[in-house]
């Protein structure tokens, strides 16, 4: 285009090289280092596959993956089921001029840090927290419920975050639907329920899948929420990874577990790849 002489040809490379170099040096290289580390023995001697085989042979590690997959699946399904009607109400029932504000409010706590958000839920769910005080105070229960430090607490914390995220993506999806689809369905004699089930829902399905995939990836890799809310009674994969570093300084095993976790995410990506094609408008 403007390539004139050597300077012209060097310029584009000078522009893209810093970003490429950064990604290679601080993203690709660390990943390779981690992969290499996962094949070395913790005590420093030689190559071994024991880090990887430990995962398959040790039931406790295997259980962490099962727990992670169960929690992630429950969180994804519950979040979609809660967020879809909410996004629909925001997009269809709220007057146009208030929609932006309503949406901004709906995702405001999204912007607090992970740590603070999980801690806030601890305040709500703890033995002497708001919910238990309300339950025992009203005489409904005589004993406080054990919610904090259980799987339920982890799930509540996650669902809170992902309802906000999914509301954003599904809302955007509903707004992109051209109203003429609905008019056409109505002209052809479909009632509102049929229009929704046969027109709106199928057309927003790709958006739901994108949101569900995001939920899956972010949920299965998160350390904070299970650690603060779920405690150590039941470990999820990220907790298991961090435990290898924190307590034992076992980088090779932590690397191996991280790579296995990443492989699971990649499989999930391939499974819904056909839904995730992001087309340029």
């Amino acid at each position: 285009m403007s390539a004139t002489g050597n300077a012209g040809r060097a310029l584009p490379w000078a522009l893209v090289t810093p970003a490429l170099g950064w990604t290679l040096l601080f993203f690709v290289l660390p990943f390779l280092a981690m992969a290499f580390s996962s094949l070395t023995a913790h005590d420093g001697g030689g190559f071994t596959l024991s880090n990887n085989s430990q995962f398959f042979n040790n039931p406790a590690y295997w259980q962490a993956m099962v727990n992670s997959l169960q929690v992630t699946a429950i969180v994804t399904v519950v979040s979609v089921l809660l967020a879809y009607p909410f996004a629909w109400i925001l997009a269809e029932q709220v007057p146009e001029r208030w929609q932006r504000l309503a949406l901004m409010l709906a995702v405001l706590p999204f912007w607090t840090s992970y740590v603070v958000r999980s801690y806030s839920w601890l305040l709500v769910l703890a033995q002497n927290g708001v919910i238990n005080r309300a339950l025992t105070g009203s005489g409904l229960f005589s004993e406080p419920l054990q919610i904090a430090n259980t799987r339920l607490a982890t799930i509540i914390g996650f669902v809170h975050f992902f309802v906000m995220l999914l509301t954003l993506t599904i809302f955007a999806n509903l707004k992109q639907l051209s109203p003429s689809y609905r008019k056409a369905a109505a002209d052809l004699g479909a009632g509102p329920v049929r229009t929704f089930l046969h027109v709106v829902l199928p057309l927003t399905l790709p958006g739901i899948m994108v949101g569900a995939f995001l939920t899956f990836v972010l949920c299965i890799g998160d350390y904070i929420t299970p650690q603060i809310l779920g405690g150590n009674n039941e470990l999820l994969m990220p907790q298991l990874v961090m435990m290898q570093i924190g307590r034992r300084g076992d980088f090779p095993l932590a690397s191996a577990l991280s790579i296995i976790l990443m492989a699971v995410v990649t499989v999930a990506y391939l499974a819904c790849a056909r839904w995730l094609k992001i087309e340029r408008a």
């Binding site: 990604t23 290289l29 580390s37 405001l108 740590v115 603070v116 839920w121 601890l122 809170h160």
Partner: protein, 260 residues
């Protein structure tokens, strides 16, 4: 039927808003009471614990650290993202699609794994744990974001303005500084502010890559060991306030851009 749907919609929306705001309201409310436990009944209001936060030099220096890391790493991410986006959008490079894919790849990998990789690499290379190490990690997570935002906004009409400037004899650096940067300013700001909020809130990378001097989320994490503590409520409310300011600034900028 219509009225029924409306009533049900209202009830549902109120319930979800309640669910979304419950923890935030509890957090802020119990940061405002003087007792040593942030639990009901509410006895406030008092600013006692905010004073305690501001008097705690570990927390205040962590706050300064967090701001520094957020500003510097976002500036680096936006600079690298902008230059590469300009390079890819304006010049036909061999293997362009592959290279763009490489730059956006970190978006699909969880922070824990990015942090782990850097920890292993730095450990081998003998790079000590530090704020700089965490900042490097923050650039890794924010560079793809800045690149994607800026690249998607580089349309054809900007190319034409740049061509006009070149035809009028402007050298390449002048085109960049006087034409491209001002025209792309909204996307550049969007990338910068989004990076700021992500870096400001990021925990796991900072947790893995810093030791003594650390960022605010990690320092809050350390506070959590003492269980429910009104000081944590106060500092959490402050962090939330900063995030909200960033988001509102971001919203205002989007609104200002709309008419253009």
């Amino acid at each position: 039927m219509r009225a029924l749907v409306r009533t049900f919609s209202w009830l549902y929306a109120v319930a979800i808003y309640g669910f979304i705001f419950l923890p935030v309201v509890v957090l802020v409310l119990f940061s405002l009471q003087a007792t040593s436990f942030p639990i009901p009944p509410f006895t406030g209001p008092s600013l006692r614990w905010y004073d305690a936060v501001l008097a705690d030099t570990r927390l205040t220096s962590a706050l300064v650290n967090s701001l520094l890391v957020a500003i510097l790493s976002s500036a680096a991410a936006v600079a690298l993202g902008f230059l590469s986006a300009w390079g890819f959008a304006r010049f036909a490079l061999p293997g362009s699609g592959l290279m763009r894919g490489l730059i956006t790849l970190p978006l699909t990998v969880s922070y824990l794994i990015i942090g782990m990789g850097l920890l292993v690499l730095f450990n081998w290379a003998g790079v000590p744990k530090s704020l700089l190490a965490a900042g490097i990690g923050h650039v890794v997570i924010n560079l793809p974001l800045c690149f994607a935002i800026i690249y998607s906004q580089m349309g054809d009409h900007q190319i034409n303005i740049e061509r006009a400037a070149r035809d009028l004899g402007a050298p390449e650096w002048k085109v960049l500084l006087l034409i491209t940067v001002p025209v792309m300013a909204p996307a550049i700001f969007a990338g910068f502010f989004l990076s700021m909020t992500f870096s400001w809130d990021e925990f796991v990378i900072s947790f893995l890559l810093t030791r003594f001097d650390t960022t605010l989320p990690v320092e809050i994490w350390n506070l959590l060991r003492s269980g429910l503590n009104p000081k944590t409520n106060a500092v959490g409310s402050l962090v939330f306030a900063v995030s909200i300011v960033l988001v509102v600034l971001f919203e205002l900028m989007l609104l200002r851009r709309k008419p253009a």
